[in-house]
Symmetry: C2
Subunit: 268 residues, 2 copies
Amino acid sequence: MTSSELNQEIRRKKSFLCVGLDSDPLKIPAHLNREPYPVFEFNKAIIDATHDLAIAYKPNLAFYEAMGTEGMKQLEMTVDHIRSVDPNLFIIADAKRGDIGNTAEQYARAFFIHYDFDAITLSPYMGRDSVEPFLQFPGKWAILLALTSNPGASDFQMQRFSDGEPLYEKVLRESSAWGTDDNLMYVVGATRPEYLKRIRKIIPDHFLLVPGVGAQGGSLDMVIDNGRSAHGGLLINNSRGIIFAGKEKDFAEKARAAAEEMVASMSR
Amino acid sequence: MTSSELNQEIRRKKSFLCVGLDSDPLKIPAHLNREPYPVFEFNKAIIDATHDLAIAYKPNLAFYEAMGTEGMKQLEMTVDHIRSVDPNLFIIADAKRGDIGNTAEQYARAFFIHYDFDAITLSPYMGRDSVEPFLQFPGKWAILLALTSNPGASDFQMQRFSDGEPLYEKVLRESSAWGTDDNLMYVVGATRPEYLKRIRKIIPDHFLLVPGVGAQGGSLDMVIDNGRSAHGGLLINNSRGIIFAGKEKDFAEKARAAAEEMVASMSR
């Protein structure tokens, strides 16, 4: 998918919504555990209830890997289901990988070819040769962690180098030369929306994937005002605030209501 | 496993060897592809041929994930086999993860409980709260990337902060306070052995996991001279140089010969 195709979906749906499928098997409604694939059934119901509102889905791989082979099977089923519902939905593997050369190629093949994800999140710590293997697949994207929404972001990301530039800005500036705004995005946490204006000066056109709205307390309005590009350029993620909006049999309707409310505030 | 138990194994076997199970299914001997679990059969033969020489095994998860559920199944079988051969072998999930709170806990549970790994490699980019969840499991270890062996290490890791300290040193100094030398190790590439002396001044007792000897060109002698602690404190990894030493039916004997040669140079 190209950035202009993605921006077109954003305009068409009047939405920046990315639904995070952090589908913890211990938190899904109890009645689903009678099904052979409870997490897949949960995801399927959420997807069926929200796909006309969402631009993207982002399964967080930790929750699937924690279940071993059963989890990975249900991840495959989930990606296949999203594809079958609407081929224009953007699917992000929230994997936060970061490895070199031959290993990075393995991961790229795994996520882009085997699982058919559109994008994968990566840590920039290992530098250019840990990112480039992910930029060789037409229509596929690498999403680099830049400034994350957790307290630990201040440990290293916000530390300033001798030229005055903080680590996360160096990551943005250096890495934006490794690819294009058609194959590189950045994670910038909604808990630090005041940084978004500066970030937009460094990378005016790249897509930003913004976690931390909702449960982590980031402001949606500030993220949109400071973070949008001329053409759109935002994917705003909400995980638990949508998928766990309800905990009973009507969880999918509750998820839809939460998604509708969020999308309504996006299109004001 | 504690650091003193690990150092005891190092003294008993006169070896720092960690065998990297980067078992690319496209590179294993062709005759194994007749088996139902070719990668597991490959790993089993390598383990059976080298377990008296090695201190640790390090499956690189990319190669298993690239095969989907079939790969993860063979990873489980591999860990179980190592455990059954010798419970004192140290098993590292080379996963290079890095995520926060609730996701990090999922990964910790996945790798430490579901798969029964002793240790997992992590990226430090997201800071303290991305590492701490891995330090809550008695006898289990987090291994943080500090200075990696690839060219991209110079993009960010070697950049100096305004106080003159390079990023990788700040990672060592800050993070060593988050745990102890019984639950934290560091990755330092063998391609930069001249940095090991400085690193030993910052963290005199922590274990170092050293990749990059062999295929990537690092010198074994320099790594041992500059990197060992008072009690041992090194795991020196070789992947392709051992597991792909032979490509025919005698691949396990060739792997043993390569491991023997490496261990002989370690105990000089």
